[in-house]
């Protein structure tokens, strides 16, 4: 028998997406917050039912974009006015209109890179190991089954009580997820 510390959580298996969404809602009403739902395809309602946590990704993208904007402009200023001053059509060395297109492109580039890298950093991907795969039946999550896993990290988690709670949701099966 696994000890308490080596348990990742408890996982309930459902036949259809509606049951999973209802289960997630019930679990949240019951006070659980550390949990996740697994389905073969995206379910918009599930996102709401799980109480989607606010993400810091927009802030990361904004900071990335602003850095790209300032960096792009500064790079051009340094190149055109400091490192290699060149008289083009009699215009001032620091000609801001000419710098705008590249500044814009740098903003988009840095914002897009921050979005991709920030997303990976915040969601922890790529992740070669995840405890939920210790449950053999979890392979069905990519076919036709729907899973709700309440994690042991949840303050309200209790192996016996949480199992009893999950049983009330009419799952096909409740399995213990080893860490």
């Amino acid at each position: 028998m696994a000890t308490r510390s080596s348990i990742y959580g408890l996982m309930a298996e459902f036949d259809d997406p509606a049951a999973l969404v209802t289960a997630a809602q019930r679990a949240r009403q019951d006070g659980y917050s550390c949990m996740d739902g697994y389905a073969p395809y995206p379910i918009e309602e599930l996102h709401h039912a799980l109480g989607s946590p606010t993400t810091r990704l927009p802030l990361v993208v904004l900071i990335g974009g602003l850095l790209g904007c300032g960096g792009g402009y500064a790079m051009q200023y340094w190149m055109s006015a400091v490192a290699y001053p060149l008289n083009i059509g009699g215009k001032p060395l620091h000609s801001w209109p000419a710098f705008i297109p590249v500044t814009f492109e740098c903003t988009i580039l840095a914002a897009a890179l921050s979005a991709v890298l920030g997303m990976l950093a915040l969601n922890g991907l790529p992740q070669p190991y995840h405890p939920v795969f210790n449950v053999p039946r979890f392979a069905l999550a990519s076919r036709n089954r729907f899973f709700l896993c309440i994690e042991a990290a949840d303050p309200k988690f209790d192996l016996e009580q949480t199992r009893r709670f999950l049983e009330t949701l009419n799952p096909r099966e409740v399995s213990t997820v080893a860490d």
Binding site: P58, G89, P97, A98, I100, P101
Partner: protein, 407 residues
């Protein structure tokens, strides 16, 4: 109550809005008419600006409607009826163009034989820039726009009545050709009516600049309309935050598009630095008009851009409508920037007619729009995308679509 009742029955407040709009329009038009006797030139300059402002919403709606026929999307299903009603104001806009034809001599210096005789460049342009051909072209533009609006609106009404699925396909085909026709006609119309105010100057991006502005005007107006409608039955249970989010994103895209076109024009002319091209900016940037230019950069681009980045603002109708009203107002300022400096090259000059005439035309336009909106159901209940766009609306407590609903 059912959704396919006419808006007149479903939303009784519309009658009052129409009455008030026409009342304001009549008063403002009477006051503006004084300007006709005081200063005809100024009257026509302000009239052209006010006319292009209202035409922008009308044609922008027609074009967005055609875009939606081709692209699909929930945003357009919710907006279909306001879009159609705005496009049906086109016959009135056609009639309102007549003062510009009659007063062309007060607006366009290329209509003066003595000016043309003294300028070799204008003599070469006379093959295109002459009054008869200019009038023929205007007739052609309005014919194309009216025909598109008429055909699409008629089929949309037929779709409501018969629920014939083949009609959607027909509307798609007409919209594909119609968008090309709109692109060509509005490009030449903007050359004829706005760019030729300074006939020696030219900018090839001018047409799409005006086109992008019309799309933006139309979106801002449509947002104001659906926010108003979403506060009343039956749309209060149908329009949800995601619809506002979509149109908010579209408005953000058009704000950026306008900024892109405007800046491209400036950058190319600034980089080329040719005497014939920079004159247009010299009148504007080396005089008091510069303040208007700076205001446009701030309030036509920077402020709405930053505000519309926010997800919260796009999903909160009360905040989104404020941004949209602001955008509608700066659209007028942008037209002021395109038109007024041509007649007041020495510096910034605002006439009381620049205020009175936009109010008059916009109020009359709004009255006509509401009158058109009242005549049909507020949603296209037999649009093939209806269910997908609006979801299970009955579960949100909305009334049924039709009285004789299918089993």
């Amino acid at each position: 109550m059912v959704i396919n009742e006419t808006a007149d029955v479903a939303i009784p407040e519309l009658a009052g809005v129409q009455r008030r709009a026409f009342a304001v329009g009549a008063v403002a038009a009477l006051v503006s008419a004084i300007g006709l006797f005081v200063n005809v030139d100024q009257f026509l300059q302000s009239y052209l600006m006010a006319f292009m402002w209202c035409l922008g919403v009308t044609l922008g709606c027609l074009a967005l409607g055609m875009v939606h026929q081709l692209s699909g999307g929930a945003w357009g299903v919710v907006l279909r009826r306001p879009i159609g009603a705005a496009a049906r104001v086109l016959p009135v806009m056609t009639a309102l163009f007549l003062p510009i034809v009659v007063g062309a001599r007060h607006l366009y210096i290329w209509t003066h034989a003595d000016v043309v005789a003294a300028d070799e460049a204008l003599q070469h342009k006379q093959l295109y820039l002459n009054t008869p051909f200019w009038i023929v072209r205007a007739i052609l533009y309005f014919a194309v726009w009216n025909a598109l609006s008429y055909v699409l609106n008629r089929w949309s009404a037929e779709q409501d009545r018969t629920a014939d699925p083949r009609i959607a396909r027909k509307m798609q085909l007409v919209s594909a050709g119609g968008l090309v026709a709109y692109g060509v006609t509005i490009t030449f119309a903007s050359f004829d009516w706005l760019m030729s105010l300074e006939p020696r100057w030219y900018s090839t991006i001018y047409g799409v600049l005006v086109m992008g502005g019309q799309g933006l005007s139309a979106l801002a107006f449509l947002i104001v309309t659906i926010v108003w409608l979403s506060r009343r039955a039956p749309l209060d249970r149908i329009i949800v935050a995601s619809h506002f989010h979509d149109v908010g994103n579209l408005m953000l895209a058009f704000v950026m598009l306008w900024a892109y076109f405007s800046f491209s024009q400036y950058l190319i002319i600034w980089a080329g630095n040719l005497p014939a091209e920079i004159a247009w900016y010299q009148h504007r940037l080396q005089t008091g008009w510069r303040a208007v230019g700076v205001a446009l950069v701030l309030f036509h681009f920077a402020v709405p851009f930053v505000l519309l980045l926010s997800r919260v603002i796009k999903r909160t109708p009360d905040l989104l409508v404020k941004v949209a009203l602001g955008v509608l107002f700066v659209r007028l300022i942008d037209l002021f920037w395109l038109i007024a400096p041509e007649f007041h090259m020495q510096g910034l000059a605002i006439s009381w007619l620049d205020v009175a005439l936009p109010i008059a035309l916009a109020a009359v336009w709004l009255g006509c729009f509401v009158r058109q909106l009242r005549g049909r159901a507020i949603l296209p209940v037999h649009d093939p995308q209806f269910d997908e766009a609006l979801g299970r609306i009955i579960e949100r407590g909305a009334p049924p679509r039709t009285r004789t609903s299918e089993p």
